[in-house]
């Protein structure tokens, strides 16, 4: 995974390399520092030296302290800046890729997870790249460096260190792999418990209406208590790897000290060397200990990186390269179009053949799941058909660059997204260079001008997630204003009036009628109010055209359409 990251982001290699190099230099300086310290103590303690005899050494010790701090600063800065580089690079690539994947990938249920990956997931790479990865390399090299230095001074201790060192990772892996799965599950349970708490908060009004608040309070308490008990059981094992690490380190230091003591008494080693070996022993284990500390961050980062690469590796739709594009009024035809969602058995559209004559109004109706939304996705090239061709004035749209094709299409979706920004900016979405007058004219035509003028700052009122809320009907009319401004020859309307109250619906319908003038239009709806003025109505059923005709003609036929319409008429109004 680390390799994957480095391969994908070449500059990361440089940062990682420099960080590790700095880490090595720090280790070298540390050895020097310890050597000075042992010499000072030796001189003062055994050779009766005063301050004046060790002045140089003290200065050297101070010098190494400053040098070490400087190297640490550079190491930290490099590591952090490398992480910044990695994060910002991946964030940008991910964003571009998700846009390219389009709404077919970022389906509503996934939006939450996707945005979390793009914002928080990317941040998790920070400790992974800045700490964990360099530490993995350093823990392989630094102990080697330390032991090489000890070897000529005290072979016995060197052997002891070399023998104990591999035990630590082995034990950690043994205990760790057992505990890891459990720990992972517990953290999952923790996030689920958070979700339960959120659920209990969101459902408070419902709970109150049913007088079940006290029971829920108990449940919140019980769930938290049970979680604690179970987690602690797991942690008892999970912390064992830490216990092993600490114990091995401490026991080795104790052992080294005693062995050195014996050898000193026997005169087999000088005090200065013995003290130096003792000072270096913790340094030998330090990188491994730090690896243990960053291990959790490492795991998290790894998981985040896996998810990020999974998204980056999701194939985008093949884009066309044809330069010529259809001009003038558009006739759009579908021939034998078939589409099946990945992982589904049944096709959403099953051999659809249909012509939208230039300037005509076609409506597609059907119950939910009949393939209507898939049709919209295909027309806008959010999806490509598995089989069959969609062409505009005879040019297969799949051969055109998606961006170029979409310039010919204006979409009025079921729930238009209002971006954070002013009303004016939201209308100008289609043509950012449109003049204010043009945008206002579009709003006028869309029947939106009146409510916009009533807003606190008119066209400059901030709307969207962090701005003023608009009602469904108002948002819909803004979307229509966008479409007017775009002035594209093909108009696609996806359930434009569902979930509006009758008055808003009337306003929206009037605006849509104006918008459809002189364009080829395709309206998709499950409510029939919207479609009666269409030149032709297509009834979709299970991915196929079940009926075609005008409103009156279809009603007479007593088929699917009259069933849908009957749902209306049965209810005496």
């Amino acid at each position: 995974m680390g390799g994957d990251l480095l391969r994908r982001i070449p500059p990361a290699r440089l940062y990682l390399g420099s960080t590790v190099l700095m880490g090595l230099l720090v280790a070298v300086v540390t050895v020097a520092q310890m050597a000075f310290l042992s010499e000072i103590v030796d001189l003062v303690f055994l050779k009766g030296g005063g301050r004046e005899r060790v002045v140089t050494l003290l200065l050297l010790l101070t010098g190494t302290a400053i040098l070490r701090a400087g190297l640490l600063w550079i190491r930290e800065t490099t590591a952090q800046q490398g992480a910044v580089r990695v994060k910002s690079d991946l964030r940008e690539r991910l964003f571009a890729h998700v846009l390219r994947l389009g709404p077919a990938y970022a389906r509503s249920e996934r939006t939450g997870e996707l945005t979390t990956t793009l914002t928080e997931g990317v941040e998790r790479l920070d400790p992974y790249f800045a700490r964990y990865l360099p530490q993995v390399l350093l823990s392989a090299v630094v102990p080697l460096l330390v032991v090489t230095y000890i070897l000529p001074r005290d072979a016995a201790s060197a052997v002891l260190l070399v023998v104990t060192a591999p035990v630590i990772p082995v034990m950690m892996v043994l205990v760790g792999s057992y505990a890891e799965e459990h720990t992972r599950r517990q953290w999952l349970a923790l996030s689920r418990m958070g979700a339960h708490f959120l659920d209990a908060l969101q459902g408070l009004p419902t709970l109150k209406a049913f007088g079940r608040v006290a029971a829920e309070e108990e449940k919140v308490e019980r769930v938290s208590g049970e979680f604690r008990e179970r987690t602690l059981k797991v942690l008892r094992y999970a912390f064992l790897s830490g216990l092993v690490l600490e114990f091995m380190t401490a026991a080795a230091i104790a052992l080294v000290a005693v062995v050195l003591g014996v050898r000193l008494i026997n005169g087999a080693i000088s005090f200065q060397d013995a003290f130096l070996v003792l000072l270096l022993t913790p340094e030998f284990y330090r990188p491994l200990r730090e690896l243990g500390i960053h291990r959790h961050a490492g795991m998290e980062g790894k998981a985040a990186a896996e998810r990020i690469f999974e998204i980056l590796d999701s194939p985008v739709l093949a884009d066309g390269t044809l330069q010529e594009s259809p001009s003038g009024e558009l006739e759009v035809s579908f021939s034998g179009v078939r589409f099946t969602y990945p992982g589904r058995d049944l096709p959403a559209l099953d051999g659809l053949t249909l012509i939208l004559p230039a300037g005509s109004r076609t409506a597609v109706v059907g119950r939910s799941g009949s393939g209507k939304s898939t049709l919209v996705g295909l027309v806008l090239r959010f999806l490509n058909p598995d089989a069959g061709v969609i062409s505009a004035n005879g040019v297969p749209v799949e051969d055109l660059p998606a961006g170029a094709w979409r310039e010919h299409v204006a979409l009025v979706p079921q729930r238009p997204h209002l971006f954070y920004g002013s009303v004016l900016e939201n209308i100008r979405l289609a043509r950012p260079d449109a003049s204010r007058a043009e945008a206002e004219r579009a709003a006028e035509l869309a029947g939106a001008a009146e409510f916009i003028r009533r807003m606190p700052h008119g066209y400059d009122t901030q709307i969207g997630e962090r701005g003023q809320r608009l009602s469904g009907g108002e948002a819909q009319r803004l979307a229509i204003a966008r479409a007017f401004l775009k002035d594209a020859p093909l108009l696609v309307m996806d359930e434009p009036t569902s979930s509006l109250d009758p008055e808003s619906e009337r306003l929206v319908r009037d605006a849509l009628d104006r918008l459809a003038q002189g364009r080829t239009s395709l309206t998709v709806a499950h409510r029939l109010n919207t479609v009666s003025t269409a030149d032709r109505i297509i009834v979709l059923h299970e991915g196929r055209v079940a009926e075609t005709g005008t409103h009156a003609g279809l009603l007479e036929r007593n088929g699917h359409y009259s069933l849908l319409a009957g749902a209306y008429q049965d209810m005496p109004a």
Partner: protein, 578 residues
């Protein structure tokens, strides 16, 4: 500071455990210091004594410290995590019960999912206050005191100098870094929030971004923000990198300073040279306790912020309270609204103005009107989620404020478009309405609500999960679940709030069929913007901007050329023109 003390108050039930955690934490660091320092002493002594037997006690201590280091570390982690999870449970339960009387009136601002998840995140932030903040600070204090004490026995000056460096590292360095990074940190937070918001906005609106050919432009803008953030973060790295470097420098300078003080003492014979290495290692080792304080202060800052937000919310007074001596509401009383006016916020525009109507037992009243006309506010007032600003809501001839909220609500069954479906099993979602209900009763209401197909289709049947916010259910199924709840609750008064919004016509028709059964024999208030089955109503109120603009039976209203007639014409326009 007040927030800090209140946070401390949360730990009161666990103060002994928390103290144990701190002691163990201090023991962990002290063991390490002891291990290294006594080991150094053993070696120093071995250089001057003839037999190892003379060092039995120090050698024994070295072994003891090596075991106690590992053992206390392990125990400390278990104890402190135990405290953390206890604290989390306590925080959840306490804040939850504080929020209960506030919902939904005081939580209206928090209605959107984002703000509620903010609460969840704040509580999760607070759970760390012990583990990552209190405990490290307390451990640092204990270790510093202990180390100074040990050093004091050798020489007071050494002790003071060491303590000075420890303080500078634990408090001075974090303060310096914070001062240096404050502007950058703020800028970074701001840029990240801006960038995240933009990314979320664009991904949520990806369909419109693509449909209007905005992808290039959005990519460009995100990229610009991203580089700006990158520049700030790179400068930030320079400052935060200082924290470790300065801490390390302080530690080594402390060593040099202590040596400078100790060396003349040894040379003058005032201090036994055998302890020189010991003193040096006590100084070096005790810095372990202060090196993590920078992080601890950061956590503390964040926790206080989270605590402030939570307290601000939980401290607000409930808008609705129970009377001191609640009366028992009549089993089947008349519901009446008498000149009720209400506004959500004091300076806001009125949601209801002077609304009056009477709902006799067994009768049906419909409230219709465009969205935003105040229809749903009525439900909130009848359920006493709010109290009217003026006028009275009466049940059985008495103001509903005479009854306990729970008793009042037990008389009312609500089916609303925003009924919450819990991420739980179908069974538990239904039992909400009647915890005592047995399987027979559950299956009966499932049949009556036409949910049988769904329950059979769910893996696990009655015990199958419905997904987060009922995501595994379609719109119609969610409404049916709400209907089944109301059937199970079997309350005399039924309130239906926009139950067919967002449903396709076939589903709507099916659901209304089910509802007809539910309404049989029950007093019903139906709130809707869809004018269907209106002729079965005893009275219809047309609401517009909070005011009753028209009232009467369906027959009366159609004949009049008023708002009702116009609404009907718009709704049926399609069939008429077709």
């Amino acid at each position: 500071m007040r927030v800090f003390l209140r946070l401390l108050g949360f730990m009161k039930p666990y103060r002994w455990r928390a103290l144990l955690g701190v002691l163990l934490g201090a023991a962990t660091v002290a063991s390490n210091v002891g291990l290294l320092a006594t080991a150094a002493y053993v070696i120093s002594a071995a250089a001057v004594v003839p037999f190892l037997a003379m060092l039995t006690i120090p050698v024994y201590l070295v072994r003891l410290f090596s075991v106690s280091r590992a053992a206390s570390r392990y125990a400390e982690r278990l104890v402190s995590h135990d405290v953390t999870f206890r604290l989390l449970a306590e925080l959840r339960t306490r804040f939850y019960s504080r929020l209960v009387p506030l919902a939904p009136a005081r939580l209206l601002r928090y209605r959107s999912g984002d703000l509620l998840s903010r609460i969840v995140k704040d509580v999760e932030e607070l759970q760390n206050v012990y583990l990552r903040s209190f405990s490290p600070v307390a451990v640092a204090l204990a270790v510093c005191a202990l180390a100074s004490l040990v050093l004091f026995t050798f020489d007071p000056a050494i002790a003071f100098v060491a303590l000075g460096f420890l303080t500078a590292t634990g408090i001075g360095v974090p303060l310096l870094v914070r001062t240096l990074s404050r502007g950058l940190g703020w800028r970074q937070l701001q840029l990240r929030a801006e960038l995240d918001a933009r990314i979320v906005d664009d991904i949520q609106g990806v369909q419109d971004v693509l449909a209007f050919g905005r992808e290039g432009r959005e990519r460009h803008e995100v990229s610009a923000l991203n580089s700006k953030l990158g520049r700030v973060q790179r400068r930030m790295a320079l400052v935060t990198g200082l924290q470790n470097a300065l801490g390390d420098l302080m530690m080594n300078l402390a060593l040099v300073a202590v040596l400078i003080l100790a060396i003349p003492l040894v040379a003058a014979g005032e201090m036994n040279g055998v302890f020189l290495a010991f003193v040096a290692l006590v100084v070096l080792g005790s810095f372990e306790a202060v090196s993590s304080l920078g992080a601890a202060f950061q956590v503390l800052g964040r926790s206080v912020g989270a605590g402030e937000r939570l307290f601000e919310m939980s401290d607000s007074e409930p808008r609705v309270t129970d009377p001191p001596e609640p009366l028992s509401p009549p089993p089947d009383g008349t519901l009446a609204l008498d000149r009720v006016s209400f506004r959500y916020e004091e300076d806001g525009s009125p949601a209801l103005r002077d609304v009056s109507f009477v709902l006799q037992p067994g009768s049906r009243v419909a409230v219709v009107g465009p969205s935003g006309s105040g229809k749903s506010t009525l439900v909130g007032l009848i359920l006493r989620f709010w109290d009217p600003d003026s006028g009275e809501v009466r049940l059985g001839g008495r103001d509903v404020r005479c009854y306990a909220q729970e008793d009042l609500r037990s008389r009312i069954g609500v089916v609303s478009q925003d009924t919450h479906v819990f991420n739980d099993t179908v069974r538990n979602n239904l039992l909400l309405a009647d915890p005592e209900a047995d399987d027979v009763a559950l299956h009966r209401v499932i049949r009556e609500a036409h949910l049988a197909g769904l329950v059979e289709g769910l893996p696990g049947g009655l015990d199958g999960y419905v997904g987060e916010q009922g995501q595994r259910l379609s719109g119609g199924e969610r409404q049916r679940l709400a209907v089944a709840r109301a059937l199970l609750k079997d309350a005399p008064l039924l309130v239906l709030d926009e139950i067919t919004a967002n449903l396709d016509t076939v589903t709507e028709r099916e659901l209304l069929g089910t509802i007809r059964e539910l309404m049989r024999g029950r007093t019903t208030l139906q709130i809707t913007h869809r004018l269907v089955e209106m002729e079965t109503m005893d009275e219809i109120l047309v609401l517009d901007e909070g005011r009753v603009v028209e009232r009467g039976t369906h027959q009366d209203l159609v004949r009049r050329d008023g708002p009702y007639h116009r609404m009907l014409a718009v709704q049926d326009g399609m069939l008429a023109t077709g």
